[in-house]
């Protein structure tokens, strides 16, 4: 038995208790009043009994004196006995107000008995006159007793007047008490019932609201119900259900996200593959031709041209091979140098390339063909348009858990809008045909997919301030991400 049932039982018990208390109090009070009335009435009755007994005694005596038979004698004895008993009863009626009178009263009864006996004695001794005198005296005493009874009753009425009034006043008070009690109980019961019903309906209401929220699809609101009954248990279970649903949903969402990413990287890969296929139409022919040209140039004594051709061939091969797998920074740097050599042959003194490389951190992994498109970008925008060329700085700096790669030029810089376009991987309009095939946008996308975070690449630029592209490459890749990355291959 718990909870709501207990509450209902409690309410019933309280009401029952109050009713019982009132009933007991009223019964007690009634009994008390009745006892008081009884006591007082008893006193009057006893006094009256004395009067009756004394008169009866005198009557019996008279009867006996007139006709001295056994019957009459026994009757006389009986009434005398009654008188004695009445006298004993009267003793108990003493109180400070009537003590004197009551003593007299009892003595009068004694006198009556004595006189009666005296009359009897005279009668038995045939002294009729003395007997008659005694009888008339007894008669007088009997009258005195009657009178004294009245006097005593009078005194009693005076003494008990106060008590009667008290009883009447208290009856009036009882009525008032009844009204007050009724008001009090009504008040308390209303309060109690209100609190009681609220304690049941409030949790239910909360639960209803929570259910409504849930049905609207809000799973993040906690369901809190402060009560100690079944509803609280229900709410707890409901809350647990909500949490479970919430977890399930978020899991599903996560899965969907992964699915989406996977889809995207697949698309990206397809695009690059398409491009590489496009450029693969005759890459091997081109590669072989380039190698032949290089050897031919070498044989003809044009070593510089031979080297240049070798570099172009190496770059071409790298381009063909390394697009979809991770490489070390070392390979990237090597390819970069070859690319610079080619560009140097083109721009001669106009391209001034400075490197500052911390050799100790060339082991880090990164997606293939990352650096070359960036530097290519710098060459296209910072060197090519300028009459007297420009400078490009390339730095690799070791950090605590990342390796920073910076490519800086002193060209005209980029607009904010364009930087954002690049970083947010939005499609960029055609940049002209003289790239090796992979745009900056492609690099950014591949980096973010490869490392699973967006803060790998940062671009600082402004009008006439040059452009600085900074790559922060984590030294250790997260294992999960590596798996996904290798999945792609």
């Amino acid at each position: 038995m718990n909870g709501i049932q207990k509450k209902i039982w409690t309410l019933a018990a309280v009401v029952l208790f109050i009713m019982a208390a009132i009933w007991i109090a009223l019964t007690y009070y009634n009994q008390k009043t009745q006892d008081q009335y009884n006591d007082i009435l008893q006193r009057y009755l006893r006094m009256n009994e004395v009067t009756t007994a004394s008169q009866q005694t005198v009557t019996s005596l008279n009867n006996y004196l007139l006709l001295p038979s056994r019957d009459n004698l026994s009757q006389l004895e009986q009434s005398k006995e009654k008188l004695r008993k009445a006298r004993i009863d009267v003793i108990e009626l003493r109180n400070p107000g009537n003590e004197f009178a009551l003593t007299n009263y009892m003595n009068l009864i004694d006198s009556l008995v004595e006189t009666t006996e005296r009359s009897l004695t005279f009668q038995s001794e045939k002294e009729t006159e003395a007997s008659g005198n005694a009888f008339s005296e007894a008669d007088r005493i009997s009258k005195y007793i009657s009178e004294m009874s009245l006097t005593l009753l009078d005194a009693e009425l005076k003494t008990y007047d106060r008590f009667y009034r008290g009883i009447i006043e208290q009856s009036a008070e009882l009525k008032k008490l009844g009204i007050w009690l009724l008001l009090l109980i009504t008040f308390l019961l209303l309060l109690f019932t209100y609190a009681f019903s609220l304690s049941i309906t409030r949790p239910v209401l909360k639960l209803t609201q929570a259910a409504k929220e849930l049905s609207r699809g809000r799973f993040d609101l906690r369901i809190e119900v402060e009560s100690n009954d079944e509803i609280s248990f229900l709410a707890k279970m409901f809350d647990r259900m909500r949490i479970n649903i919430n977890n399930l949903i978020s899991e599903i969402q996560q899965k969907a996200q992964l699915e989406h990413e996977l889809q995207q990287s697949k698309l990206l890969l397809q695009e690059s593959q398409l491009r590489s296929l496009q450029s693969q139409i005759n890459p091997h022919f081109l590669f072989n031709t380039l190698n032949t040209l290089s050897k031919k140039a070498y044989l003809e004594g044009s070593e510089e041209t031979s080297d240049l051709l070798a570099s172009v061939a190496a770059l071409l091969r790298y381009n063909l091979k390394r697009l979809d797998r991770s490489v070390t920074l070392y390979d990237e740097v090597r390819v970069l140098r070859q690319y610079i050599e080619i560009q140097k042959a083109r721009f001669t003194e106009r391209l001034r390339f400075h490197t500052d490389i911390d050799e100790s951190c060339l082991y880090v992994q990164l997606p293939g063909l990352t650096l070359q498109p960036i530097v290519e970008n710098a060459v296209i925008y910072a060197i090519e348009p300028e009459e007297d060329g420009g400078e490009i700085w390339f730095r690799i700096v070791d950090g605590a858990d990342r390796v920073t790669v910076e490519i800086e030029d002193d060209g005209p810089g980029m607009a904010e809008e364009r930087i954002r376009q690049i970083l947010e991987e939005r499609p960029v309009e055609s940049e002209g045909g003289h790239t090796t095939g992979i745009g900056l946008g492609n690099v950014v996308r591949r980096l973010s997919l490869f490392y699973g975070c967006d803060d790998v690449i940062a671009i600082e630029s402004g009008r006439e301030r040059g452009t600085k592209v900074r790559l922060s490459i984590p030294k250790a890749r997260e294992s999960g991400k590596q798996d996904q990355a290798s999945d792609r291959g």
Partner: protein, 325 residues
């Protein structure tokens, strides 16, 4: 808003609780406990003072003195009696007292056969001591233990002497006595006569009447008709003084007459203050009450046995109209 509602409800609740508890307290408080029986402790003696003239100033004082003394010595006493000299009632009260077996009866003496019968026969039969107070009945007739009160003979002498000093040694004096011829009045008259008989020039005329107003008036008329040159009146029965003076006043002025009386009537003092009475014998009612109770208890406890059968006299003095004003 919520706070206000809670406050109001709380106040209402407290008020209801308060009134309910006050009301319940009133209902269940049992201050109307019935008087309890006083236990076994009872007064040493139960005495009764019986008089024929309840509620007169004189007897009021006697009663007060007696009650005071009873309280002092630890006896209980009740004052019984009849109103306006109702003899039957008075005698009944005595009989009740005897039948009630009180320890002692202090009674205003009544010089009648029934009274003597009651005291001499019935009271003696029950062994209840009787002490007469204020008015005496001779011991031989009543078997009283003693008498407490004024020496009435001396009082008569005192009035006679005052009369002589006021009126001179010649003149006519009317003595208006009670036709019932009670002992104490007889004593007063004896006292007056004993003084006046030395003065042959003072002529006394004695008339008897009852207390009844018409009788007093007719007696006074008769006397004044017979003795037109009367100079002084003595109302031996104090209760006749008022009617007598009124009758004199109807005929002539009251002042020239020398009128004397006693203080044991309820209008003696007012008449004296109005100057209609020239002198009143003032007795000591409170002392009477006190001494009578005292002697009774002494006799009951056996301290003073027997009591002086001649009586214990209390102080009397002549109160003149000049003093009263």
């Amino acid at each position: 808003m919520r706070k206000t509602v809670i406050l109001v409800l709380g106040l209402a609740g407290v008020a209801l609780f308060y009134f309910t508890f006050v009301s319940a307290g009133k209902v269940f408080r049992s201050d109307w406990q019935l008087p309890q029986s006083p236990g076994e402790k009872q007064a040493r003696y139960r005495l009764v003072l019986i008089t024929q003239e309840l509620e007169t100033p004189f007897w009021g004082k006697v009663g007060a003195g007696a009650l005071e003394e009873a309280e002092r010595v630890g006896a209980s006493i009740e004052v019984w009696g009849s109103y306006g000299k109702n003899r039957e009632d008075f005698l009944k009260k005595i009989e009740i007292a005897i039948d009630s077996k009180v320890d002692g009866i202090i009674v205003q003496g009544l010089d009648t056969e029934e009274f003597k019968q009651l005291t001499k026969v019935k009271a003696a039969f029950y062994g209840i001591p009787i002490v007469t107070v204020a008015n005496d009945v001779p011991m031989a007739d009543s078997l009283r233990r003693t008498y407490v009160g004024s020496n009435q003979y001396l009082a008569g002498q005192l009035i006679a002497r005052q009369l002589l000093s006021d009126m001179g040694s010649t003149g006519k004096v009317v003595l208006l006595g009670d036709s019932r011829g009670e002992y104490y009045q007889q004593q007063r008259i004896n006292g007056i006569y004993d003084v006046l008989k030395e003065y042959p020039n003072v002529r006394t005329e004695y008339a008897e009447t009852t207390d009844a107003r018409e009788q007093v008036i007719s007696a006074t008329q008769d006397l004044m008709n017979r003795l037109p040159d009367v100079q002084a009146f003595v109302a031996v029965n104090a209760n006749t003084a008022e009617a007598m003076i009124q009758e004199i006043g109807r005929r002539t002025r009251v002042e020239p007459y020398h009128i004397y009386s006693f203080d044991d009537s309820h209008d003696s003092m007012s008449l004296l203050k109005q100057g209609k009475l020239d002198g009143v014998i003032e007795q000591s009612p409170e002392t009477m009450g006190r001494i009578s109770v005292n002697l009774m208890t002494e006799w009951l406890s056996g301290e003073t046995v027997p009591l002086d059968s001649n009586g214990y006299f209390t102080e009397i003095r002549m109160l003149k109209a000049a003093d009263a004003r």
